[in-house]
């Protein structure tokens, strides 16, 4: 449809409305014309018949044998009508515009015929005993003129009204679409950083879904931006703090006059470097995992867990923590050994760091339809709100003495995601601290 190509709603509405109104008006005009033509035909035919009857009645009484009379034109309309009165073959009376030959061959009744290029509607009547023949004719053109006038009267107002209607429609549509324009003005005037909701109250009901959708979008974008902003701020903090520490400690060492202080500052510098490189390692791991896909393969979870725990044990023993592993001799799962090793080490590292001195840390490997790895500790655990934030990059539990970067959990979650593993974090029923359960999807064949 042509109107569908119109980009403006206002244009569409005006075009549609005008098309519909014009169409209806034209249809009404056409119906009126057809009806008027029929009615007019019948009316004028009845006049012809009546005129003929009058002529017959008059002539029967007043036959004047010798005179051929020309009736005068009494009215301007008279040129459109003609009549003849014949007595046998003799033309007794006729109108000025009537020919001298009979208007019709018929003896009675209606006929439409062309005489000298002019169309006539003719009524013939026969005057009984005196052999009187009367013809009354009327030019068809006259009837058409009347019909044309009627049609004109129907169509002229339309052409006058259409522009007014267009103007009125334009105004009405403009008034009705005012909220839309106000919305677009509001959106245009918004600064890119303004992501608050648009006012929904007083909005037309048709616009509410649009506004709700927009507000939803704004909210999502705002959340995304906020997360991004927080990430940048946290990353800045995590990256700059060790560097700031290294710089200050190095300066302290340089400026120190006492050997003891200098040695301490240099040790601290090295510790800062270790921390910064650990952070860089983790960031690189995360970056690599960003696009990682798991190479198809299987690994023995029990053996892998044993190796990882062996590597972690010295750190745990240094904190007088007890580490144990409960595992079947073998538990083959679908995973990449290197990635799964990183996952286990990160979970173990977290348990050791946050379990506290003297804590018990228990690893459990369970085989079955859904193999799983559980890490539990007897540490302080986490509040539900803190659990929810685990895995947010750089999230650290406040008040923690540990210098973790909050990236370990992000790495664990990322590895779990690429392996399609589910991770549950909860409270350990057995040890009272944190319990983390890594579960594999159900094996395809039981």
């Amino acid at each position: 449809m042509a109107w569908e190509r119109l980009r403006s709603l206002q244009g569409r509405l005006i075009a549609l409305l005008l098309t519909v109104v014009t169409g209806l008006w034209l249809a009404a005009a056409a119906l009126t014309w057809v009806d008027a033509r029929r009615e007019l035909g019948e009316l004028l035919d009845s006049h012809l018949a009546q005129a003929a009857a009058l002529l017959v009645a008059q002539q029967v009484r007043e036959i004047d044998e010798d005179a051929l009379a020309d009736a005068p034109n009494l009215f301007r309309y008279a040129t459109h009508v003609a009549f003849q009165v014949w007595n046998g073959d003799q033309l007794m009376l006729h109108s000025a515009n009537a020919p001298h030959t009979p208007l019709s061959q018929r003896e009675r009744g209606f006929e439409t015929r062309t005489i000298d290029g002019v169309q006539w509607r003719i009524f013939a009547a026969h005057g009984g005993a005196q052999n009187l023949q009367v013809y009354v004719g009327e030019r068809i053109e006259a009837r058409d003129d009347i019909l044309a006038t009627i049609s004109r009267n129907l169509l002229v107002p339309l052409t006058l009204v259409l522009p007014l209607l267009a103007l009125g429609t334009w105004w009405a549509v403009r008034a009705a679409t005012h909220p839309l324009r106000r919305l677009s003005a509001l959106l245009v005037a918004r600064s890119p950083s303004a992501l608050g909701p648009l006012p929904v109250e007083n909005a037309p009901s048709e616009m509410e879904p649009l506004l709700a959708a927009l507000n939803g979008l704004f909210e999502r974008v705002a959340n995304l931006l906020e997360a991004e902003r927080r990430f940048t701020a946290d990353a800045a903090h995590e990256l700059r703090t060790p560097i700031a520490a290294i710089r200050i400690q190095a300066q302290v060492a340089l400026g120190s006059a006492q050997k003891e202080e200098r040695t301490g500052a240099l040790r601290a510098t090295i510790a800062g470097c270790d921390r910064a490189s650990h952070l860089v390692d983790q960031l690189l791991q995360l970056a690599r995992l960003e696009n990682a896909s798991v190479p198809p393969g299987t690994v023995d979870l029990a053996t892998l867990a044993r190796d990882c725990i062996a590597a972690l044990s010295p750190a745990a023993l240094a904190r007088t923590q007890a580490v144990e592993l409960v595992a079947p001799p073998q538990c083959v799962v679908a995973a990449d050994g290197a990635l799964l090793g990183i996952l286990i080490r990160n979970l173990g590292d977290n348990a050791i760091r946050y379990g506290g001195a003297g804590a018990r840390i228990c690893f459990t490997v369970a085989d079955g339809v859904q193999p799983e790895l559980r890490v539990e500790d007897s540490g302080p655990g986490l509040l539900p709100a803190e659990r929810a934030r685990l895995g947010e990059r750089f999230f650290r539990v406040l008040g923690s003495e540990e210098t973790g970067s909050g990236l370990g959990w992000s790495i664990v979650r990322r590895i779990a995601r690429v392996h399609e593993l589910t991770i549950e974090v909860g409270e350990s029923a057995r040890l009272g601290g944190l319990a983390v359960c890594v579960r594999w999807p159900a094996r395809k064949q039981a």
Partner: protein, 223 residues
């Protein structure tokens, strides 16, 4: 000059404390926001070095509380948050200076001294009282253009007295500005240092107000 350091990172905090001590500051170090708030409210510090990412209470909250209590103490915000809106927010909330990590330790010391100087209404680094000139950044003291050799404590004591020239400071106030927590202060330590200062300078420069404390009269002679 006694300052409070609020920094949760152990390595950085330790480094900052050593760095400031090397420059003659007396440093108390707290690791969380709640402790920082408590110390600022209860102790007399010349300035605060405040990290924003503190546990318990965010540094910005600490700053807000301090300013809400109409405490005019100079606060230097030391943070990794370098976004311009963060800096603006920090300064508008009441920070006197906003320094992005990492920072040079001498710059940090200079900024702290500048903050303290301004709160005492001084415009230049050097303090002068008649023929006595004290330069905090170089820790130099000159009397009639002759260098005077002072111990750390003596210098700090003189610095405090000169910063507050014309005001009488009690022995407790002087002790607080000279020692961080946990340091044993013997009852007559201040008297001892005052005595030595008088000998190295001129006895009349430091006036004892009996039962109240000590003061260094200003140029116009009004104590």
């Amino acid at each position: 000059m006694r300052v409070l350091l609020a920094e949760d990172d152990p390595l950085l905090g330790d480094g900052l404390r050593s760095a400031l001590r090397q420059q003659g500051f007396v440093v108390d170090w707290v690791r969380d926001g709640a402790a920082a708030e408590h110390e600022i409210a209860t102790q007399a510090y010349e300035a605060v070095v405040l990290d924003l990412g503190l546990p318990m209470r965010d540094g910005m909250d600490v700053l807000r509380t301090v300013r809400a209590q109409e405490n005019p103490i100079p606060v230097l915000v030391l943070t990794a948050r370098d976004a311009v809106p963060d800096r603006i927010l920090g300064l508008e909330t009441g920070a006197d200076d906003y320094v992005i990590k990492p920072v040079d330790m001498y710059e940090l010391g200079a900024r702290l001294r500048a903050l303290v100087r301004r709160t005492h209404g001084k415009t230049s680094d050097t303090l002068q009282l008649r023929q006595l000139v004290l330069t905090p950044s170089t820790r130099e003291v000159r009397l009639e253009n002759q260098a005077v050799v002072l111990s750390t404590r003596e210098f700090d004591l003189l610095h405090t007295l000169m910063l507050n020239a014309g005001r009488v400071l009690s022995r407790e106030q002087l002790e607080q500005s000279l020692y961080s927590w946990g340091q044993e202060v013997e009852s007559n330590t201040i008297e001892f240092h005052i005595h030595k200062l008088r000998r190295k300078l001129r006895p009349e420069m430091i006036v004892t107000v009996r039962g109240v404390g000590y003061t260094m009269p200003r140029d116009d002679g009004v104590p």
